[in-house]
C-alpha cells in the first residue's frame, strides 16, 4: 500500500513533500522518505501519484513491493 523513495537517487529537492495529499513525506538526514502507513498511492485524491509526477529523477518514487497495493475502502 505504498510508494517509497529510492534514497540514493533523491536530490532532496523537496518538491514531493508539499504535493502529498496525506502528508506522508518527510525529510530525514538529507533525503526524503515516505511513511508507508500514510501513503494511499494518491488513490482517492488524484489520478497519478503526486510524488512520482513531480520528482525530477526518474524511478526515484517507486512502488514498495513490500506492501500490497492500496485498496480504497469504497
Amino acid at each position: 500500500m505504498a510508494y517509497k523513495i529510492v534514497g540514493s537517487q533523491c536530490t532532496a529537492c523537496a518538491a514531493c513533500e508539499p504535493e502529498c495529499p496525506n502528508n506522508a513525506i518527510r525529510e530525514k538526514e538529507g533525503t526524503y522518505l515516505i511513511k508507508s502507513e500514510k501513503c494511499t498511492e494518491c488513490i482517492g485524491y488524484f489520478d497519478d501519484p503526486q510524488c512520482v509526477a513531480v520528482c525530477p529523477v526518474d524511478d526515484t518514487c517507486v512502488i514498495d513491493a513490500a506492501y500490497p497495493r492500496y485498496q480504497a475502502s469504497a
Partner: protein
C-alpha cells in the same frame, strides 16, 4: 584600494540601463538616447532613457541588473531557498542551480528563509553597494511560494531600501502575481525559451501542473500559455518584468526573434538572451547529447537582431546563485551561514546612503569624461567598428592586471560611440588539471574577436603572445575610465588607418567559456 571597494556587482545576469536624468550622456552614445523613440533603454546597448515612463526609469536607473553603468557600482545578491521545481528543462539536472537564472554545474547553498534574510542583511551592512536581493534556483521560487515569500517578508521588514526580485520559469506565476504585488517585489524575471510548443517540446520534457505531469507539446503549450499570461498580469500591475532566454543553437536560436516580439508586445521591458552553457559533466540532457552552446559571434548577432526590437541586456555573466560581491569578485566565503548566524547584524541605512552618494559623483565624472572625449571625434565618420577587451575590477575603470583578470569586458566602438557588448570569462573553472601555460591560449581564443585588450599592467610574455595573435595589448590607459579610453583608442586607430600605418582586418569569432562564473 578605493577601486577595490568599488567593485560591485556580482552575480548573474545583470543588464543595464544608464543615463539617468543626471548622468544623461554616460551611455548616450550609440543607437540610444538620441533614438529614444522606441522605448529602449539600454542595457548594455548604451541606449538612453528613451521614452520609458518616469516611474519605470526611476526603478531601473540604479539597478545593478538593469543599468550597465550602475552595474559597475551596485551589487546584487541571490539566495537559494527554493530547491523544488515544477518543470524539467533539458539544460538542468537539478542537482545544481536553476540554469535559468544562474548556471548549471554549480551548487549554491540552500538556506532557510530566516537564514537567507539574515545573510542578506549581513551582506548589505558590509557591502553598501548591495541594493538588490534576488531569489533564484536551485529550483523555482514560485514552486516554493511559502519559503520565497517568507524570505521577502523578513527582508522587507528589516531593510525596506533593499529591492527584491525573483526569477521564475513562469508556470506558477499567474496565481502568485497578487502576492508579488503586495510584497512590493521590484522586478520579476521569467525565462521564456519559446512560444511555439514544437520548439518547447525539444527543451522541456515535462511540466507538473495542477496535479498532473504533462509531456511533449502539451507540456510546452501549458508552460508557454502560463508564462505569457503571467507576463501580462505583471505588466498590468506595473511590476517590472524582464525576460531571459537561453539560446540553444539549432533549437530555438531563430525562434528567439519571435519570442522577443511576443514578450515585448506583452510588456516585458528587457530581454536577456543568454548562451546555453552545456557540457557532458553537467549531466543534463543537452550536455549528454552534446548539444553545443552558441559562439560569441552567434550570440551577439542574435542580440543585435533583437535589439532593434527592444532593450537587450548583455552583461549577464551567469554567476552562481549564492555568490556575493562585485565585479569578478566573490566574497561569499566571508558570509557563510555559520558566520552570519553567529554575527549580530545592525542594519544602518545612513552608511549605505553615504556610499551610494559617492558612487553617484563618480558616475557623473565618468560620464563627463566620456562626453568630452566623444566631442573630440565629432566630425569623424567611419563604417569601421572594433571590439576591445578590458581588464577591470569595477568602477568603470581599466584597473586590473592582465594576469589577474578572470574575465574581460568587451566593448564595441564605432564613430557612433561605445557600447558594452558582454563579458568574456577566462577563469579556469571547469578546466580541472590544466596548468598555467594553458591559460594564454584560452584567453586568446576568448578574445579572438577583439582588436586590443586594455589592461592596467601586462607582462612581457603575454604581451608577445597577444601581439602574435593580432591583439594589441594596451596599458597606456591604466586606471583611466573605460569608455573615454576606448574612444581615444579608436580615434588613434582611425588615424593610423588613414595614414596607412595599419590595415583593418575583420576579426574572427570569440569563444564563450563553459561553466558557471565563480570568481574563485
Amino acid at each position: 584600494m578605493q577601486d577595490d571597494r568599488q567593485q560591485l556587482e556580482k552575480r548573474t545576469q545583470n543588464p543595464t540601463a544608464e543615463c539617468a536624468g543626471l548622468v544623461f550622456g554616460e551611455q548616450a552614445a550609440p543607437q540610444g538616447c538620441s533614438a529614444g523613440g522606441n522605448g529602449r533603454m539600454g542595457c548594455g546597448s548604451g541606449a538612453g532613457r528613451g521614452d520609458l515612463p518616469p516611474e519605470i526609469w526611476e526603478k531601473i536607473r540604479n539597478h545593478p541588473c538593469y543599468s550597465e553603468a550602475a552595474h559597475h557600482h551596485y551589487a546584487r545578491m541571490h539566495v537559494a531557498v527554493a530547491p523544488a521545481c515544477n518543470i524539467q528543462c533539458n539544460y538542468c539536472n537539478r542537482k545544481y542551480d536553476c540554469a535559468n537564472e544562474s548556471r548549471p554545474g554549480v551548487v549554491s547553498e540552500r538556506l532557510t528563509p530566516e537564514q537567507a534574510a539574515k545573510k542578506a542583511l549581513a551582506v548589505a551592512c558590509a557591502i553598501p553597494q548591495m541594493t538588490v536581493l534576488g531569489i533564484a534556483g536551485p529550483g523555482d521560487p514560485l514552486a516554493n511560494p511559502e519559503k520565497t515569500f517568507k524570505t521577502f517578508g523578513l527582508v522587507a521588514q528589516a531593510a525596506p531600501d533593499i529591492k527584491l526580485c525573483l526569477s521564475t520559469n513562469g508556470l506558477a506565476l499567474p496565481e502568485h502575481v497578487n502576492r508579488i504585488k503586495a510584497l512590493n517585489v521590484d522586478h520579476v524575471t521569467i525565462t521564456v525559451n519559446m512560444v511555439d510548443p514544437e520548439v518547447g517540446a525539444q527543451i522541456y520534457p515535462w511540466v507538473f501542473f495542477r496535479h498532473k505531469r504533462y509531456t511533449g507539446r502539451d507540456a510546452a503549450r501549458i508552460l508557454s500559455q502560463r508564462q505569457l499570461q503571467g507576463l501580462e498580469m505583471l505588466a498590468e500591475r506595473g511590476i517590472l518584468c524582464k525576460v531571459n532566454s537561453v539560446m540553444i543553437p539549432g533549437i530555438n536560436d531563430e525562434h528567439l526573434v519571435e519570442v522577443n516580439r511576443a514578450v515585448k508586445s506583452r510588456g516585458a521591458f528587457l530581454h536577456n538572451i543568454m548562451p546555453l552553457i552545456s557540457a557532458p559533466e553537467h549531466g543534463t540532457v543537452f550536455g549528454l547529447n552534446n548539444q553545443r552552446g552558441p559562439t560569441a559571434r552567434e550570440l551577439k548577432a542574435l542580440q543585435d537582431r533583437c535589439e532593434g526590437e527592444m532593450n537587450m541586456m548583455r552583461h549577464c555573466r551567469q554567476c552562481r546563485a549564492d555568490a556575493v560581491g562585485l565585479l569578478g569578485e566573490d566574497r561569499s566565503a566571508e558570509f557563510t551561514t555559520e558566520k552570519v548566524m553567529a554575527a549580530e547584524v545592525r542594519y544602518d541605512v545612513s552608511a549605505r546612503r553615504t556610499y551610494q552618494q559617492a558612487v553617484e559623483s563618480e558616475r557623473m565624472a565618468k560620464a563627463a569624461a566620456k562626453q568630452a572625449e566623444l566631442s573630440t571625434c565629432s566630425g569623424k565618420f567611419s563604417d569601421i567598428a572594433i571590439q576591445v577587451a578590458v581588464a577591470t575590477k569595477g568602477g568603470g575603470r581599466i584597473n586590473e592586471h592582465f594576469g589577474h583578470a578572470k574575465e574581460f569586458q568587451i566593448y564595441e566602438i564605432g564613430t557612433a560611440g561605445v557600447k558594452f557588448v558582454g563579458h568574456r570569462r577566462v577563469d579556469l573553472y571547469c578546466q580541472g588539471g590544466y596548468g598555467e601555460e594553458d591559460v594564454l591560449p584560452v584567453i586568446v581564443r576568448a578574445l579572438n574577436d577583439c582588436v586590443a585588450v586594455f589592461v592596467a599592467k601586462i607582462g612581457g610574455c603575454p604581451r608577445d603572445t597577444l601581439q602574435a595573435a593580432g591583439i594589441d595589448p594596451v596599458d597606456r590607459y591604466a586606471h583611466g575610465f573605460i569608455e573615454q579610453s576606448a574612444i581615444s583608442y579608436f580615434k588613434d586607430y582611425l588615424e593610423k588607418l588613414e595614414r596607412g600605418d595599419i590595415v583593418h582586418v575583420p576579426r574572427g569569432d570569440g569563444a564563450i567559456r563553459q561553466g558557471a562564473y565563480v570568481a574563485a
